[in-house]
Symmetry: C2
Subunit: 330 residues, 2 copies
């Protein structure tokens, strides 16, 4: 098998993106900016109520892998789809983006996962995710050879929401550790952190080499209202952490230092979906290819800025070209 820079494991999701106003979120009791798990009936009812949609392949870690490929890195993905139309869409798009994806589609009636993403006029996204067959990725389906082929294995916190996926997560982390690979983790969502705080803390202290979190997630993890207090605890608990702060940029904690990276400029924020995923893409690409932490952070900022300037959580242009124009790649 060819070598990979990063292999990711996560939920295979197709995004259905629509616009709504603030009143719609209030009426349907959605917490703005969050990801909420919903059942099939709720996703159908919300779809009926929402405006016209745009369908684009998504899934947090899958977006990150597509971003790494767009930078010119070698990325692989492990995740579960069904053999239905959305599954075919997901499979087509990730392969077309150049990401290694070999997980077989599941048989049976459970459909491919989907997330109804409601974008408010300020560009903020509120996600309503029906996981469908996605968490049926059993431990037996984690491709050990694929994981060993990568410098870094990247796992999404969302996998903790279902027991089977959590087993796959733990197995992947063990394979990576026993092969001397680095393990990276995204905390995914503040409510996800709240659901699994103790397990996440244990994992971060013992098994995680690179931690990704945004301000809401890291303050949720440490149950503090202060970003600085949370960052100090993260610095004590992790070897390397990248904490994102929207328009305030990001803070990288590692090698005994704290490096502040400014956000890259954006003419107009259209849809913030995927901002964290693409930051992680730039940062992981940078680290996996031996760049210094500041450059890795700047690659993350660049990718995040690109993805929030249009609808959808995957890059619309080749990130390698953008990075070359910005003087971050040769």
């Amino acid at each position: 098998m060819q070598d990979h820079d990063v292999v990711g494991i996560g939920n295979a999701i197709v995004d259905i993106i629509g616009r709504c106003d603030e009143a719609f979120l209030v009426k349907h009791a959605r917490a703005k900016g969050s990801m909420q798990l919903v059942d099939a009936a709720t996703v159908a009812a919300l779809y009926d109520a929402m405006g016209p949609g745009t369908e684009i392949s998504g899934g947090s870690v899958a977006n990150t892998m597509v971003g790494i490929a767009s930078f010119g890195g070698k990325a692989g993905f492990i995740g579960k789809t069904a053999d239905d139309r959305l599954g075919q869409v997901f499979r087509h798009d990730i392969a077309a983006a150049g990401v290694t994806f070999k997980t077989p589609a599941a048989a049976g009636a459970e459909p491919t996962g989907r997330s109804l993403i409601l974008v408010t006029p300020d560009g903020q996204r509120t996600m309503n995710t029906f996981l469908g067959v996605s968490p049926r990725l059993g431990g037996g389906e984690v491709d050990a050879e694929l994981i060993r082929s990568a410098r870094i294995v990247y796992l999404e916190g969302y996998l903790f929401d279902r027991p089977e996926a959590k087993a796959a997560f733990r197995q992947a982390a063990e394979i990576a550790a026993s092969s001397g690979r680095q393990v990276a983790l995204s905390l995914s969502d503040p409510f996800c952190v709240d659901r699994h705080r103790a397990e996440f803390l244990q994992l971060i202290r013992n098994s995680v080499d690179i931690l990704f979190a945004n301000e809401a997630e890291i303050t949720s993890l440490y149950e503090t209202g202060s970003f600085d207090a949370a960052a100090r605890q993260a610095q004590a608990d992790t070897k390397l952490a990248a904490l994102t702060r929207s328009e305030k940029g990001s803070v990288i904690l590692g090698e005994g230092k704290s490096i502040t990276i400014p956000a890259a400029p954006v003419a107009k924020v259209v849809d913030t979906t995927g901002a964290g995923d693409l930051y992680a893409a730039g940062f992981l690409f940078g680290v996996a290819t031996g760049r210094n932490l500041e450059t890795a952070g700047r690659l993350g900022s660049l990718a995040a800025a690109e993805v929030i300037s249009h609808v959808g959580a995957r890059p619309a242009v080749k990130l390698a070209d953008l990075a070359r124009k910005g003087g971050l790649l040769d």
Copy 2:
């Protein structure tokens, strides 16, 4: 039934939009900027070869009806979908946009129509359309009451590509004429014009009140290389014609005059899909609501500029708000 400003009849299509370079078009023998009809196998092969996709409801006249609703007009649509996922997507999106749509879904195995749209770096789109069940709109399914409820009936030239749809087209034109409604026609595509030139000319001279064509279509219709020569012939053949010329704006021929309307400014052309459809939306909304020809043309330019500034052939913002900002609506 409530009154409508415009009711449109056309193919019900979901667009699958991907990016490609010029070499891809050459390799797959696609004529840039055109719409080519393809079979199920070809659409599948092209999908396999193309990059990641974005799915957004489309269909030329359907896009126009959504644009009219976005201006605050009352629009209805008649077109055929299947009871499959893409059909549900089409049905959801057009209803969510506020367009009256009551055509029942077809039973049977034929799927909902789809168009693979390849967008090159210059923003130009090349369409590869598998019509699926779309042309199965029989004459018996044209809703006479809905047509009579509208000031203008808008028909797409693409309907001429299949005998059943052509019968529906002719029936709708007859109902409209016998009820004193205006009939508007889009020539759709230069190759479509080439396939049906004699019939289109006869129709334009005898049954059409408002003609829409772009430069390639009108010069194809009159088999001339000169836009000015084609425009002179159109002025002789039609009561009212709106001829679009991309960045050169449009020329409106009517009431014995020729009015040149500049294109509205666009910061960056992202995807030209839907430019003509949305120009028609603004123009038809203007004419149906009693505005003068220059204002109608400016509403068309405004809507076209909005839709080419992002991916997808339907407006991303409320056109009524844009028009008010631009001083074109109160």
